[in-house]
């Protein structure tokens, strides 16, 4: 069974067809990249999958469940979690608390139990704390776990987001440009981290990314979008050589030779 099945997904903003009848599948346990030139509709696809936008047409199955019928704050139950292109961390909270927020639905205590610090409230707090600390160490933020997340540099804030998504114990991780703002060395580390995270969670990753070295390094399959539509799909070497893809990125007059230098 595939982890994510996108079927004929469409979204229109006024006259603009942001996504037009797009279909692709993410195999369980794989890293699947969604790429395309700026404005191709990649982030729109992620926002449709995470129910920030409502799709005009089509279905999205996560682990066999159609998530387009669920409310946005219920889709995490299907095993999906995401990070954001423009950081969406909770700046007022510490790193630890940021990650703890993702355990909200793993806890059951009510407002009054919280206020009175009833045993129920304390024990669930303790249980979740241990797991959250594990996750924070995994992404390497243990030394700054109690710093205010809003005061951290950009790169670390991105890791906070990753850790927060991981705290949902997802089976499918949607990552929106995880490498943005990283230098070559950091991208290498990120690639290793993402593969490690995938193995530990036994999850699949759906990756939207502009950084081709990251995409080529960790993806099992790549889907290319252009003007909201499906353009091509294949393994990294296949996509690299695909003339339609090269044309979409560089225009009609360029020849493949120019392209190889960039991916090298």
């Amino acid at each position: 069974m595939s982890a994510v099945d996108v079927k004929n997904l469409s979204k229109r903003f006024g006259g603009l067809k942001a996504v037009e009848s797009l279909s692709f599948s993410v195999n369980s346990g794989s890293v699947h990249a969604l790429i395309g030139p700026n404005g191709a509709g990649k982030t729109t696809v992620l926002n449709l999958i995470s129910r920030f936008y409502t799709a005009d047409d089509g279905q999205v199955f996560v682990q066999g469940e159609n998530i387009l019928t669920l409310r946005d704050y219920d889709i995490f139950r299907t095993g999906i979690a995401r990070t954001f292109q423009n950081l969406e961390i909770f700046g007022d909270l510490s790193v630890f608390e940021n990650v703890m927020t993702a355990r909200f639905r793993f806890m059951k205590s009510g407002v009054i139990a919280n206020m009175l610090r009833l045993p129920r409230s304390r024990s669930e707090e303790r249980k979740n704390k241990d797991r959250v600390k594990e996750i924070i160490s995994l992404v390497g933020l243990q030394d700054i776990a109690f710093k205010r997340a809003g005061s951290l540099p950009y790169g670390q804030q991105k890791l906070v987001e990753l850790a927060r998504a991981m705290a949902l114990e997802p089976k499918v991780l949607l990552l929106d440009e995880p490498a943005a703002g990283y230098n070559t060395e950091e991208v290498g580390k990120l690639a290793q981290l993402l593969l490690k995270v995938k193995d530990i969670l036994k999850a699949s990753i759906l990756l939207v990314e502009h950084n081709m070295s990251l995409v080529m390094a960790i993806s099992d399959r790549i889907t290319v979008m252009h003007h909201g539509q499906f353009l091509a799909e294949g393994t990294p070497p296949e996509i690299e050589k695909n003339p339609a893809v090269i044309e979409a990125y560089l225009g009609r007059r360029y020849k493949p030779k120019v392209e190889e230098a960039e991916y090298a």
């Binding site: 995470s50 920030f52 946005d72 704050y73 219920d74 995490f76 139950r77 979690a81 995401r82 954001f84 969406e88 961390i89 909770f90 700046g91 007022d92 909270l93 510490s94 608390e97 703890m100 927020t101 993702a102 355990r103 909200f104 639905r105 806890m107 205590s109 407002v111 919280n114 206020m115 009175l116 610090r117 409230s121 707090e125 205010r148 927060r164 998504a165 705290a167 949902l168």
Partner: protein, 314 residues
């Protein structure tokens, strides 16, 4: 070491507060009790506006409703003070649903203006229910008595201190648990909060309910403290004073709520005491402007400079 120093400061503060009836005159003890009352309202408003970032001006509705509910239960139904106060708190919670649910989709100034409507409506309701509230003439509030013993100012101060302390501890606990974090999450990014399973509409309603409970209890104590209430309690100035406490004290901070209440209640009274009645409002206004100019994160940022209370804050 810092822990010991911090505990020492807390100890001194506790002694200063507990000994207040022994060195404050009758009038200043009244001001101290009043400050305690407004600390509750300020903290409740901070949960809604500071932690969850919902700018509401309905605070006076809950405060006034709490005051009238307590007074009516005590005088017309002979309910004793504590159960009356608790019921007043729940009256506030019930009202908060009426306020919150229709305005859930509104944000920022739009929410502020929409909630303002409730203040006008509640004022009119209080005026028209003459048989219960005494209409625009207002009503007297019975003296608090515990086990047949009437409480004097000193007794009322200590009772208020106990209620406020317990509710503040409960509030601090709340901010450190799953709901407290959820408030901050909705403030930080509602989109992200929803993506990790936090039901934002429910969290907003709870934040309203918490504010309403604290403001209604504060209103209930206010009534028995001043002994007379009328529909002018349902005033936008009351709502604005709650918000200004939170903003002057520090958004999203427990200590900030306390500092804000002290500033807003005590400063005008002190100015009057020192014979500055005529220009009292101007100086108070100036102090407000200066404090926001130099301490945009509220008075609570002063403590960060001295590192006394750092651990307590978020």
């Amino acid at each position: 070491m810092p822990q010991i120093k911090k505990n020492f400061i807390y100890l001194i503060a506790t002694i200063i507060i507990l000994a207040m009836p022994f060195y404050l005159g009758e009038y200043f003890l009244y001001i101290a009790t009043l400050t305690l009352v407004f600390t509750l309202a300020s903290f409740g408003t901070n949960i809604l506006s500071g932690y969850t970032n919902l700018l509401s001006l309905a605070g006076a509705t809950f405060f006034g409703a709490g005051a009238f509910a307590t007074a009516i239960l005590m005088s017309r139904y002979e309910v004793s003070f504590f159960p009356a106060l608790l019921l007043a708190g729940f009256t506030g919670v019930a009202l908060s649903l009426v306020v919150a649910i229709p305005t859930l989709r509104l944000e920022h100034v739009y929410l502020a203006i929409a909630t303002l409507g409730y203040v006008f409506i509640s004022s009119e309701i209080a005026k028209s229910l003459e048989s219960l509230t005494g209409g625009s003439m207002g009503m007297g509030v019975p003296q608090v008595s515990i086990m047949g013993q009437s409480l004097d100012e000193i007794g009322l101060f200590y009772i208020t201190l106990v209620i406020v302390t317990l509710l503040m501890i409960a509030g601090v606990n709340l901010t450190h648990c799953r709901f407290g974090r959820a408030f901050f999450a909705v403030k930080g990014s509602e989109f992200a909060a929803r993506s990790i399973g936090i039901p934002a509409p429910k969290i907003k309603i709870i934040a309203f309910a918490v504010q309403a409970f604290y403001c209604a209890v504060a209103g209930g104590i206010y009534g028995v403290l001043v002994r007379f209430i009328d529909p002018s309690l349902f005033s936008i100035f009351v709502s604005i004073s709650f918000l200004s406490m939170v903003i002057i004290g520090g958004l999203g901070s427990v200590l900030g709520s306390i500092f804000g209440a002290i500033f807003v209640i005590v400063t005008p009274q002190l100015l009057t005491y020192f014979g500055l009645t005529e220009i009292q409002r101007s100086i108070y206004g100036l102090a407000m402007i200066l404090s926001l100019m130099f301490l945009p994160n509220g008075l609570v940022s002063l403590t960060e400079k001295f590192k006394f209370f750092k651990q307590v804050e978020h």
